[in-house]
Structure formats: C-alpha cells, structure tokens
Symmetry: C3
Subunit: 400 residues, 3 copies
Amino acid sequence: MPPARPPQTAQRSLIGTALRRSDIVIMAGAAVFTLGAVLAKGAGAVVPFVVSAVAVALLAALVGRAVDHLADRLGAGAVGVLQSALGNLPELFICIFALRSHLLDVVTSAIIGSILGNLLLVLGLSFFVGGRKHGVLRFSQPRARMIMALMILSVAAMLVPSLASYVHAAAASHEAGLSRITAVVLLVVFALSIPASVRREEAAGRGQRREQGGRATRQAAGSGQSADQSADQDAAPDHAAEREEGHRWPLALAVSVLAVTGLLAAYVSDLFVSALQPAMNAMHISEAFAGLVIVAIAGNAVENAVGVKLAWQNQADHALSVILNSPLQIALVLAPVLVLLSPLVGGAAFTLVFNPMLVSTVGISTLAVAFLVSDGESDWLEGATMVGLYILIAAAFWWG
Amino acid sequence: MPPARPPQTAQRSLIGTALRRSDIVIMAGAAVFTLGAVLAKGAGAVVPFVVSAVAVALLAALVGRAVDHLADRLGAGAVGVLQSALGNLPELFICIFALRSHLLDVVTSAIIGSILGNLLLVLGLSFFVGGRKHGVLRFSQPRARMIMALMILSVAAMLVPSLASYVHAAAASHEAGLSRITAVVLLVVFALSIPASVRREEAAGRGQRREQGGRATRQAAGSGQSADQSADQDAAPDHAAEREEGHRWPLALAVSVLAVTGLLAAYVSDLFVSALQPAMNAMHISEAFAGLVIVAIAGNAVENAVGVKLAWQNQADHALSVILNSPLQIALVLAPVLVLLSPLVGGAAFTLVFNPMLVSTVGISTLAVAFLVSDGESDWLEGATMVGLYILIAAAFWWG
Amino acid sequence: MPPARPPQTAQRSLIGTALRRSDIVIMAGAAVFTLGAVLAKGAGAVVPFVVSAVAVALLAALVGRAVDHLADRLGAGAVGVLQSALGNLPELFICIFALRSHLLDVVTSAIIGSILGNLLLVLGLSFFVGGRKHGVLRFSQPRARMIMALMILSVAAMLVPSLASYVHAAAASHEAGLSRITAVVLLVVFALSIPASVRREEAAGRGQRREQGGRATRQAAGSGQSADQSADQDAAPDHAAEREEGHRWPLALAVSVLAVTGLLAAYVSDLFVSALQPAMNAMHISEAFAGLVIVAIAGNAVENAVGVKLAWQNQADHALSVILNSPLQIALVLAPVLVLLSPLVGGAAFTLVFNPMLVSTVGISTLAVAFLVSDGESDWLEGATMVGLYILIAAAFWWG
C-alpha cells in the first residue's frame, strides 16, 4: 500500500503551528544579538566581538534549519545539494570577509579547525555524553566507515598542495595552480556523491513514512511499548518523523527565513570579522587560534549542540551523520569554493597551502577517528580522550 | 575420489590450440612495436618514445603470461617465486638502464609510482567500473586485510632509510648502509612469504580441479545454472579453470616465449630509456613525472587492464589480488634487488632514499587504501575519489 | 550462590608454599646480579653495564610480581592504579638518574623505544611463535581495538608538543608549557581509565572464581578433560586461576618484596646509568640507540618474555593485554610523570619534544599495529615482518 501523507499536513499553513519552540527561541535570540552586534560596534574590543560571534552562531543555526525545511519541501533530491551548498553559508561569508581583511591565517585555521573541531571535540563530546548515559554507543558500522573513507580521501586530496609546497621545491611556485586543480577535483567528487546521498535520503524518507504507518497501526492495537522499542532501534527515521510531525515549515516561510537570515548572516559576518582584529589584540589571541577555535566553533555551534544531544538520546547514527557531514562538506565544498572565489573577492589570495602543524594534526586526527569509528561502537573514555587531544591541539596554537 | 586430469590435456602439444586469441594479438602487437621501436630510433623526440613505451607494455604482458604458464607446469610451489622474480622483469630492466643513464629521479619515482598507480589509479578504476556495474563490490575481507597488512609493514620498512636520511642527521651519511640492511630485511620477508603463497596456490589448484570435476558432474546432470552460480561466488578458482581449459602453454612454448620476450624486453627497455631523455625535453616533462606516471604505467599496463576487467566481471577477489600483488612485489623484491644490484651495474647509486613528497604520498595512500579495503566492500564513489587523489598527486609532480 | 573462597587459602601463610619456583629463581638471580653490579663497579666498561642491566631486568620482574600479588590482596579496585603507578617503577628510576646525568637523549629514546619495542618487537615475536605453533592466532577483536584506540589517541596527544616544536615556529619557545599541559591531559585520561579497568578486573575475578567452582564440580564428576578444554578456550581466567592456586603471596610478603625490590631497583638503576656512559663509549653506541634498544628492553624484558610465552601457549588475549598495557602506561603515566618531576630532580629538563625520527617511527608503527590487530587475528608472517621493521628502526638509530 502506498503510504499516504497524513491529512493534517494541509492545516499547517499558519506560521504559528509550523514553528517549534526551539525555532522561536533561536529566531528571537538571533534578532536580539544581531541588533546587539550593530549597536555594539565600536564599544570596546571584546563586547562587539562576543556579541557578533553569538549572532553568527544563531544565524548559522537558522540558515541550517531553513535549508532543512526547504529541502524537505523540494523533495529528497534537493537535500544534499542544498545542505552542502548553503549549510556552511555563514562560514563562507566569514572566510570571504576575513580574506578581504587579509586575515589569511584566520581562514586557513578556520577550515582545518572546523574539521578538527567536529572530528575530535564534537564527536568526542557526543561519545562522552552518550557513553556515560548508555554505556557503549553503537552505530551503523558500514555507514560510519563510508563517511570516514570519503573523509580520508578528501582530506588527503585537500592536503596535496600543502605537501607539494613544503617538501617538494619544484612545485612550490605553482601553489595557486595546484590548488585550483585540487579544488576542481574535490568539487567533482562532491558532485558525484550527490546521487548516492539523494538515494540515502529517499530510503530514509520511505523508512520514515513506513515507520509512521506502522506506528499508527501498532498504537491503534494498543502496543505502544513495542513501537517505542522499534523507534529506539531505528534512530534516524524516528528523528525524521519527529521533524515531520507538526513541525514542517511552509515553503514561503522556509524561503523567507533563508533569504533574511542569509542576508543578515552576510552582514553580521562582516561585523564579526571587523571586531575580530581588535579583539585578538586585546585578548592576545593569535590569528591561528582565533580561526582554529573561535571561528570554527561559532560557525557550527548550534548544529553541533544538536549532534551531542542526539548522542545523549542514544540516536548514535543520526548524531554521527550530523557531526561528520559538516567536515566532509568543508573539505569537498567550502575549501574548494574559497579557492575559486578568492581571486574575485580581492584581499589575500587563498590557496590550499596550510601551515604544517594544521596539516599534520588534521591528518593524524582523520586517521585516528577513522580507526575509532570503524568498529561501529564507542565508549565515553574514547570520547574523553578525543576531547583531550582537541584541547592539546588548540593549546599548541594558543601561541600562534 | 581423486580428481583426475581431464584426458584432453594430452592433445594440446600443438601451439595453435594452446594459444588464446588474446595471446596472439599481444604477440603480434609486441613484434610490430618492437620492430617499430628499432626503426623509429632517431625519428624525432616523441615517436620513438611512444612506440618503445607501447612495446615495453606489450612485452611486459607477454613475460607475465609466460611466467604464469611456466609456473603452472612446474607445479604450485614455483608460482610465487617465479612470478615475483620475473613478473617485474621489464620494470627491472628499465630501472637498470635508467640508473646507467644517471636518471636517478626516474627510478625512485617509478618505484613509488608503481605502488601509487596500483593502489590508487588501478584499484580506484576497478572499484569505479565494478561499482557502477554491480552496485557494491564485495571481496574477501581477511585476504584483503592480509595483503594490506603486509603492504603497510613493507612500505613502512622501505621508507625507514628515507626518514632517517632527512629527519635524522646522524644517520644521513649512512644512507647506503641502511638501504642495504633494509633490502636484506625486505628480501627475507619475501622469502618467508613464499610458503604461505604456495599453500594458497595449492589450495586454489585443488579448488580448481574440484570445481572442474564438480562442474562436469553437475553439467552431466543438466544443472548448468547452479554450476554458473558457484563459479560466480568463487571467482579465483573459476579464473584458474578458465586459464586451464584448452589454454595451457606447453612447457617448451612457455620457456621459449619467456626467453625471447625477456631478451627483447631488455633490448627495448634500453631503447625506451634512450628515448626518454629527448622526449622529456621535447614535452617539458620532469624526470619525477616521467617515472611516477609514464614508466610506472608502461610497466604494468596490460596486467592492470586485466585487473580492471575482472572487477567489471564482478570477480572482485581476483581483481584485488592481481592489482595488489604487484606493488607488494615492488616493495619486497624490485626495490631491494635494485639496491643490491646498483653498485654492479654502474651509473647513479640507487639507495632507498626517496624524495619526501614521494614518501608522504605513498605513506598516506597506503594507510588510506588499507582502511578502504578493510571492510571487504567498496563502491564506485570511493573508486572515483581514489582516482581523483591519484590525479592530484600526479599533478603535483608535473612541475618536477 | 556466592562463590566461597577455597578453604586452603588460610594455610598459605608460609612463604615456602606461596612462592612458585620461577619466583625463587628470579629472586636468587636478582640477588646475585645486584650483588654483582655492586662488586663490578669500576671493573672495565662493559662488565658493570651488562651485569647491572641484567639486575635491573630481574628487579623489574620482581617489582611487577609483587605489585600483582599486592593488588590481588587489596581487591580488584587497586590493580589498575597500582600496576600503572608502580609497574614501570624501575624504568622511572633509570630515566630520573639518566636525566640527572644529562643523558636526555637516552631518556627520550627509552620512552619511545619502550613503546616501539612492545608494539613491534615483542608483539611481533609473540605473533611469530604463536602463529608458527597454532597457525593463526585469534584474540578478542573488541578488546584489541579498544586498547589500540586509546593507544593511538594517547600517542597522538603525546606527540603534539613535538609537532608544535618543529613545524610551528611560534610555539617552539613554549615547549615546556605545552609539555606540562599535555602531561596533565594524559594523566587525566589515565585517571578516567581506571574505573573501566577496575570493572574489567572484577569481571575477570568473578569469571575466575566461577571457573574454579565449575572446575571443582566437573573434576569431582570425573570430567577432567572437558574442564581442560574450557580452560583453553577461556585463557585469561585460567591464568588468573593458575596464579591463585597455591601461589598467592601473603600480604606481608608482597609488601616486603615490593619495598625491598623497589629500593634495590632505585639503587641498581643508579649503578646502571653510571655504567651506561663508559659502556656507550667503549662499544661505540649512540645515546639514542642505548635508550631505544638497551634501556627499553632491560626495563621490560621478563614481563615481555611472559607475553611471548603466553602466545606460544595460544593464550592470545592474555598475551596481548600483557604486551600492550605497558606501552599504554608509558604514554599515559611514565612520560607525563617525568615531565612533571623533571624540574624537581635536577639535571636535564625533560619535555615531550622527541627527535623527529622517533616521532615518525612511533606514529607509523602505532597506526600499522592498530590496523594489524583490528581484525582479531594474526599469523606468523605478520609477526616476522613486525620484527623486521623493528630491526630496521633500531638500525637507523645505530648511527645516532
């Protein structure tokens, strides 16, 4: 039987019923902090920086949610493309403004920092909280391996120009050319990966509707407990179902929120970058540390909090895919797009030549996390150690 | 029941019935291009180079086939030794002539390039074509892990002199000594690995005969389809059987072909190396790129095409063993033999000290591929990304 | 039913029955060689060095046994803490005396050498002897993966200051600070890991008593053979049981042995370090080689011989845990404690900045071994190759 859409979908045109409480809280916060960032301009070194950082984080979360709802409306095929193209939009704005302000070290560190932050800090935190609550956190081994296989290859490809630049004298003068070739190869891999992720999304969508149908039947039969068990076992469809039930934004709302928050994100990113330089001076923070830790965390804070919360709820598979997709998109989309856009936006020229410390730490961390997740389970001690490793890497960049 | 040899074996003394069509095509091609390479000598910079490269590739394929048939005749025990000792014979000739012409960078790059080419380009292509045709390509996980475990350890051992040379000042002046110790250790590991590969071959041989017997029985019983299914599931014995049926070279033929093609390969390798220098100048190719890409591909082209074809036919296990054995033999046999032969042949002294870019790319690629194959399956996206990574590494060497 | 302690425990207050023959042999040997080390002082360059090295190895073995028996008496909770804090006591003494004698290279090499020695040489030997005897050596995949996951993360953390020091100019002047932060993080990870290892020990303890009970029952029923079989399958409890039966040291004996051997170890370590410098000069051994090979092997020789013996007896799980726990404790406890103690003991300042050759070899070896053991089985060829790799790394340090 074709699983029919539940009839109440039609009644959700009112914005009030479509928005969840967390949406409203984030929107209100984003509005307040965006306003604050505008007003705080020039009010010392630290306040404008902190306020605009929070505003960026909240706007990034809203952009992400608008993209999710929009993709939902446009059908599964659009999810992968939209999420990857727009999911890291605020981070892209920050990087562009930072390049225009010649803060090249901030940009290169922010790119590696977003990867390291998700692989070690956020994944480590989610293993820690999930492991403390549920003992051992289990997730789909083939899926985790597939994401990490692609991650290893993408990170390796992204690092080829750096390796060539510092160990291979003859190529060192061709950094820009090699970076552009690398950018094109990474974007091709991304383009090739879309059909697969579309298929996955469609499969998840079918699973979700089947799940809803099944649940209704079973609940009608009074077997609520067994439905709960199956929801526990099959975390991802259950989550999708949760988003579905009563919380789907109408198309117009999603588009408007995306447009407004996108514009605001661009504007606030500019404020944030302007506030960055005086704040770094006032707080004696190096460019590298600001990029690696502060920019990287501000750009993904809310999304990552969601990932950790999912691990706490024992939805390990969904947590993993939220936490690991973002660094993959940074290697496959954000970094290459910046390489190709860099000559157009002016300012410092961005190439894929990273500081050797960034290259070695991201290389080691990617291989280590690939090994850690390849057995399909994790405990809190592994999580704690990953967080410890992140803290040490951040500490190493504290002095520059 | 002891599986008796099929009676028709006795009738195969005629060369005409022993040769398959592909054998004849390659022999004819080899003859034409070898003659062409002789005639083209001095005809500009590019033509002699291209013609002799094709001649090398075809002669390498013939040497490989002659070795296979000879090993078949001499019994399973000889397969491993013969294949490893003679399988990379044309590449050995090229390296020796290149050393005599003081093209040291060509030799070091060709050795790493043969490993990288098989691990990333050929394996990636076979995952790509196999994955596009059959969805997910599945192969024996323990076997793939065993080959890659040995590969990681051999590559690590092969790289010790390089690491010592550039990060460890005190040992830098002892490159030759450390390289010779490394060569001996690698050859000992190779010698130790022969009994295991002999046992594997014998088991495959028994499997093949049992398979043939079983097939005959089942075909007699009219159950042709189930025999086909079992052949699909058990790829390697099926392939051996295919080679067996009516396509076994008589001993005299195998020995003659090996002797003739071996001599011709030596002669054409000399022509190829002589043509290399003017061609590199004319086409503005660096020594490193010529070794990494051109020499490495010419030496294994036909064998690797077979590997990709096997993946296309969903014989993933057999494809993997064809594709991964060659780089293993290069690390365990070719490189150490060159180290020990180098003082005898004159020309540039060959040590196991590779350019840092070669070391880092082969190290990363080996670990990445070990992770990729360790789950016993692969899809076309992984394959495409591996090819992309190979292209980038090759591009990095384009400028030297 | 609560598994009651067997009644004969009460009768074991006599030292004579509590000591096994191997205990007595080691004690006698330790006494003889300790005396020898005192008397040999000044008798040339080589004799005092060799005699004191053997004395250190034997005292280290006695300290280890006393700690085991003490932990047994104090309950499972104390095992992890005691073993890690005191298990590497002799090595700690040697490192402290070497620092006071300004032999910094000996100390840094000894720390990495203990890790490399156990990961490659001892594990390789045990795979080799176990594999030759039993074909393929199988062990618990999740446990091996868990130890190696923690090992990868700890080694990565331990290497952050080195990476920062030589590839990251800005942090190079903050080596001591970054080393101290790293030391604290590693000790925190160690502290967090104690509850888990306590739980494991308790589980093993319960298993052991259950095993004993079950064995008694079955033996009473005359089914001795089936009990032996189950002991073979369940190696770790069986070993614990073996230690239990009639060979448990009384508390007073364990404390006395620990106190006496601890003091003697401190004293002999001093003699050993004093004898090291003239011996290195006389035998033309570099500081790095002395630390990497000689100090590292002397500190763990007996314990490691036990690990290899267990592999020979097909007790692969127990062998793995004996062999792999020691390098983990060196990274998590010994190295950080030395960093924090170094300013107090005087002499050369110890930081976690290792020679690049040490860093790259330990990094590659850790990843390689993690891959090797992650499939839960190993054969003798892998073992032989690991030993070969160890020999090459040692050879590279022969010249300094």
